[in-house]
């Protein structure tokens, strides 16, 4: 039953120590989690030409973020991300909690580019954008880059200040909550 060649199984309710971790198959990157029902929902947003699109938190949802479209998940990562591969987002409410999955990929070589960006929540002007060519080893590089870009954004008030309307963007935070500073933890609670 545990042939290493064949055994890829992702449980939605993984061990606490694996929180914030992604798993990988040949073609996909998979993240799963179980969150308490009374916790603030991990609401998914997409950026479309008309503005920010809020995907409703229904009891059973499967949404696809098309490759190339900026998306943000509240309280999960404090930036907008643009992958060139599709992301399937699954939400399933059960009596014991809310199960989540994010599934990125589909075709070998499809995940070639990733980007992190911030937009002004008041006027939608782009504040900063960092593009990254990924490729076969790009997944690990993305997370290194994520750390650097979040730190840079948080350390530079000018970068967080909208040139259009003057609004100062709240601090960003990384995907992995274990890496949060106290200030980032507060930011994660807020958005």
């Amino acid at each position: 039953m545990t042939d290493p060649v064949l055994h890829y199984l992702f449980q939605f309710a993984r061990d606490e120590s694996q929180r914030g971790q992604w798993g990988r198959t040949v073609d996909y990157f998979v993240w799963t989690d179980l969150r308490p029902r009374d916790e603030a929902p991990l609401t998914l947003w997409e950026l479309v030409p008309e503005g920010a699109l809020r995907i409703p938190d229904t009891d059973a949802t499967m949404h696809i973020v098309r490759g190339g479209r900026p998306h943000h998940v509240e309280h999960l990562f404090g930036y907008w991300r643009v992958c060139d591969a599709d992301i399937v987002s699954v939400r399933n409410v059960q009596p014991e909690g809310v199960y989540h999955a994010l599934i990125l990929g589909g075709c070998p070589g499809a995940y070639n580019n990733d980007a992190i960006l911030w937009i002004c929540p008041k006027c939608a002007q782009q504040l900063a954008r960092f593009d990254l060519a990924t490729g076969p080893k790009g997944w690990d590089r993305f997370w290194q880059e994520e750390q650097r870009r979040v730190q840079d954004f948080n350390a530079d008030a000018k970068l967080r200040t909208c040139k259009g309307c003057g609004f100062v963007h709240p601090l960003a935070f990384r995907f992995d909550p274990a890496q949060d500073t106290d200030a980032e933890r507060a930011a994660r609670r807020a958005w």
Binding site: M1, D3, V5, L6, Y8, L9, F10, Q11, F12, T25, V26, D27, Y28, V30, T32, W45, E46, V48, E50, G51, A52, L53, R54, I55, P56, T58, D59, A60, T61, M62, H63, I64, R66, G67, E74, A85, D86, V88, V90, N92, V93, Q94, P95, Y99, A101, I103, G105, G106, C107, P108, A110, I119, C120, P121, K122, C123, A124, P170, A190, W191
Partner: protein, 212 residues
């Protein structure tokens, strides 16, 4: 935080397929259909720890994979994602009567309903085949695992519509030629194959579906 830049128009006007589990969208993916870079199959099934129950086929919660050490069984569990990796022959008893081999990973998600006994969602996600990538319909001897017959479809070139035509051709060819079903190594005569869509079963194929 983004209330001020939120799209004010109804969501359905911007993205009518924002929820693939909505009944209106779901029905378009009841077999398999492309959605962006993936192919999706979305079915309503009763999912429990003991079974994944299809209303027509019965319990299809057991999957078999063929690995270097032989057949590896696994049971689909609620709230899990099982991955059949690219190139692995796999067969789901009572669901399709052949071993499917493709060049893409296949992900199986089992999402039960919040109320036990109600239909939940069984989801299959796999990458769209490209260029020279293929889908194969294969039969191995049920006694000794010798490869009996393998029908290959160039789905990357033909598109995924070629999958269903290829499946029908493969099953028909295999079922009508007892020589293909007779193992060259051990002489065992293997049972008939059957297609994924049970509505097309002949009485003999329906009998085979009930058996394996």
């Amino acid at each position: 935080m983004f209330a001020e830049i939120m799209v004010k128009e109804p969501l359905e006007k911007i993205a009518d397929d924002w929820d693939f589990l909505d009944e209106k969208i779901l029905k378009h993916y009841s077999t398999f259909k492309g959605a962006g870079g993936n192919i999706l199959g979305l079915r309503r099934r009763v999912i429990s720890r003991d079974a994944v129950t299809d209303p027509k086929k019965g319990n299809i919660g057991l999957s078999l994979e063929l690995g270097p050490k032989g057949i590896v069984p696994f049971r689909h569990m609620p709230l899990s994602i099982r991955v059949t990796t690219a190139g692995t022959p796999h067969h789901v008893p009572h669901n399709f009567g052949y071993w499917h081999i493709n060049d893409k990973d296949e992900l199986y998600l089992q999402l039960p309903a919040a109320v036990p006994g109600e239909p939940g969602h069984a989801i299959v996600i796999m990458g769209s085949p490209r260029e020279n990538e293929t889908d194969s319909f294969a039969w191995y001897c049920e006694k000794c695992l010798t490869l009996l017959y393998d029908h290959v479809v160039e789905t990357g070139r033909l598109g995924f519509d070629g999958f269903w035509k290829g499946e029908a051709t493969a099953v028909r060819t295999y079922n009508t030629d007892v020589r293909l079903r007779t193992c060259p190594e051990c002489n065992h005569v293997n049972r008939l194959g059957y297609c994924w869509n049970s509505a097309k079963d002949s009485p003999e194929e329906a009998a085979a579906r009930a058996q394996w």
